[in-house]
């Protein structure tokens, strides 16, 4: 299937929201989504959930003959697959670009950083070595595959146990898990990838960055910077894609942020591994089945989104303190057709009005002259007639100054604009928000 196209409206909204430092799910600029790690019954099997992005990692091993030029080292093999259930756009054969890029990044991050001691995987030099194979499957794509995949890979490797082998002279004995406990791999450090999404907004230098972009943000980003680091603040891999130009201090800043994030994630991983170890030792139940809650529907589960209404509160308090007694305001929605409702504003439908809605948001005074339900205004501009004349009143030249009354049965009220003109000096850009809040709260 083709990917759902991104509409102009969404793109604009996302970019504007990012300019105001707002993300769709209420996170801050440097916040990661919730990371959840669960283990399966076998050693080396884990599922990592980064928000809704889900990656399954599985490690397996096999005895093979080593490469000719590396006779004393074991072999590592990494494979990331984008399952068709992850996104409708993933079809067999269609995802090659993204797949190649992700696989290359995983290889550089894990193989070139030498996080696994390959010498310890050697059994008989030149004849038998362990081949460790890490398979990663993307189960759900909600952005930032690379971070989730790197966490899944390293967690699976830390969790994995290989069968014990002993060499006595010429005899090599391979013990089954029943005979001897399997042995963990020897891992030096844990490299974890951190992704930064950059948004240019017309400047040659990217001005906005986000950590852990989700799928919508990835669609509108201009460039991506991936830094793979371990908790000792050693950079294992760094890759910048998208053709953006990054300044030196931006890269340094990102690496500092990555250091902090990696430390947190490493702590989370170690705790998860420890918990799983404890449960296994005590003989409790472990595995994927245990991490799924019974008697509860989890398919349509949603996490709590922290909604920031803090600044709205203080602004609303200001108004309520100085407001006049509210008049009656209707709040029932006007149903145009099934599926289209208009609530509150007694103006013309703004669909199709491209420019004016943007202007109003910028000029704080733009909305002052406009819109309250049921106000009968004889002329377009009467603000100057009523109320305090000393306060400067900013009028916009939007075409909505001509009021068109849609509810003729409402009582004509005193013109509301005088109340807002007195408060012109304070934060004008938030004015429309406050007035609305007062009306609704008074209901």
């Amino acid at each position: 299937m083709k990917e759902t196209p991104l509409s102009n409206c969404e793109r604009r909204f996302l970019l504007r929201a990012i300019e105001e430092k707002k993300r769709l799910d209420g996170r801050q600029t440097y916040d990661y989504r919730n990371i959840r790690i669960s283990f399966g019954t076998d050693y080396g099997c884990c599922i990592v959930e980064l928000g809704k992005t889900r990656v399954l990692g599985q490690v397996s091993c096999e005895l093979v003959s080593p490469k000719l030029n590396r006779a004393t080292e074991g072999i590592l093999f990494f494979n990331l697959e984008l399952s068709q259930m992850a996104a409708p756009a993933f079809e067999p054969g269609r995802q090659s670009d993204l797949l190649v890029k992700l696989n290359r990044l995983m290889e550089r991050c894990l193989r070139n950083s030498k996080c696994i001691d390959t010498e310890s995987l050697c059994v008989v030099a030149g004849e038998k070595v362990w081949q460790i194979r890490v398979d990663l499957h993307l189960l759900n794509h909600d952005g930032n595959i690379i971070d989730a995949a790197s966490i899944a890979a390293i967690v699976a490797l830390c969790h994995f146990r290989r069968p014990d082998v002993s060499v006595q002279g010429d005899e090599v004995t391979l013990y089954t898990p029943e005979e001897r406990d399997p042995v963990p791999l020897s891992i030096h450090h844990m490299p974890i990838c951190v992704s930064f999404a950059f948004f240019q907004q017309g400047d040659p230098n990217p001005t906005y960055l986000l950590v852990d972009p989700n799928e919508r943000e990835e669609r509108v980003m201009d460039g991506l910077l991936v830094i793979a680091m371990n908790k000792h603040r050693e950079i294992c891999t760094i890759q910048s894609s998208g053709g953006i130009m990054l300044l030196k201090d931006q890269v340094l800043r990102c690496s500092k942020i990555a250091g902090v994030k990696v430390a947190e994630i490493t702590e989370l991983i170690l705790k998860a591994l420890e918990n799983d170890q404890k449960v296994r030792k005590e003989g409790g139940k472990f595995g994927f089945a245990e991490s799924i809650a019974n008697q509860r529907i989890t398919a349509f589960k949603m996490e709590k989104a922290p909604i920031d209404t803090s600044d709205v509160e203080e602004k609303a308090e200001e108004i309520i303190a100085e407001a006049e007694p509210p008049s009656e305001v209707v709040s029932t929605p006007v149903l145009w057709t099934p599926g289209t409702a208009q609530i509150g504003e007694g103006v013309e439908n703004s669909w199709g009005d491209l420019e004016d809605s943007e202007k109003e948001d910028d000029e704080g005074g733009g909305d002052q002259a406009i819109i309250l339900d049921g106000i009968k205004m004889d002329t377009g501009v009467e603000v100057s007639d009523i109320g305090s004349q000393d306060a400067p009143i900013i009028l916009s030249d939007s075409e909505e100054e001509e009021m068109i009354i849609l509810e003729p049965d409402k009582n004509p009220k005193k013109i509301r604009t005088q109340t807002t003109s007195a408060k012109q000096e304070k934060a004008p850009s938030k004015k429309p928000v406050k007035r609305r809040k007062k009306k609704r709260a008074a209901n």
Binding site: E20, K22, L24, P333, I343, D361
Partner: protein, 275 residues
């Protein structure tokens, strides 16, 4: 012909078909057969179907029952094709036996004739626009299907715009076609949706719940701030409020409404109304 078919069907099913009336509100699974009220008398206690086949039997006592989504006619019975709860609505004007349907939940939309949907324009080719509606194929929309559009006066539609329209042709064999006018030639709210605002996707069941008459959620949301909102039956909602913060709050509330009980919802609304 109906009788041997229904006998075969019943023996294949392996169990007696249940009466639709007794199963109302319960979960039904695909493959189940349901008996309509008039047929229950015919089924004997043994379950053997031995009805005399008469040409004009039941002609006067047959009640017209409408088969809604998730159900299909199979001989004289209803065959369930989706899993969900069985629902029934009594006929308003007294004629016919009402509507039966299966209330199921899904996220993937299948175009249905008459549905109002929000689509994204993906391509302009000659006289038609290709609009993605979330189905298996993009729908086609002619440039003349807008209010006041003529060959000289073309509508201002760009690639990437949002369109609110309804389907005139939607079946599984052809690509769907949509229009932005009603049968009288008026737009009636349809057309290009304005530039600002946020589009997000929810499940189809939530849309149906929000579009039900007297939906509490919409009334409560309306009391919070002024807003513009468009619901597409394909699971897409477009929201616009005065500021980005408000729009984000609304989007999050609507998405979360699906999983909240009405008490939790009232709590959240009261908290927002205070602030």
């Amino acid at each position: 012909m109906a009788e041997p078919a229904s006998v075969a069907a019943e023996s294949l099913a392996g169990s007696r078909a249940r009466a639709a009336r007794t199963v109302l509100g319960q979960v039904v699974l695909p493959g189940e057969e349901l008996l309509l009220p008039e047929q229950e008398d015919a089924e004997g206690p043994g379950g053997a179907v031995e009805r005399p086949l008469s040409l004009n039997a039941r002609a006067c006592s047959r009640v017209r029952v409408v088969c809604g989504p998730g159900l299909r006619r199979c001989g004289d019975r209803l065959l369930v094709t989706k899993c969900g709860r069985l629902r029934h609505k009594e006929p308003g004007s007294g004629s016919g036996g009402g509507v039966y349907w299966v209330d199921s939940q899904q996220k993937r939309y299948v175009p249905v004739k008459g549905d109002h949907v929000i689509g994204i324009v993906t391509a302009k080719s000659g006289d038609i626009f290709k609009v993605d509606v979330g189905g298996s194929e993009p729908a086609s929309l002619s440039y003349l299907s807008f209010e006041g559009a003529t060959k000289r006066n073309r509508p201002n539609v760009q690639v990437g715009d949002l369109i609110y329209g309804q389907f005139v042709v939607a079946n599984k064999d052809m690509e769907p076609e949509m229009v932005c006018i009603d049968s009288c030639g008026r737009a009636n709210g349809m057309g290009v949706i304005g530039q600002d605002g946020l589009l997000f996707k929810v499940t189809l069941g939530l849309i149906r719940k929000l579009l039900a008459p007297d939906c509490e959620i919409i009334q409560e949301v309306g009391k919070l701030y002024p807003l513009e909102i468009v619901f597409g039956m394909n699971g897409r909602i477009w929201v616009k409020a005065k500021t980005i913060q408000q729009t984000l709050i609304l989007a999050n509330i609507l998405e979360a409404c699906e999983h909240m009980t009405s008490d939790q919802r009232k709590q959240i609304f009261s908290r927002l109304a205070e602030s």
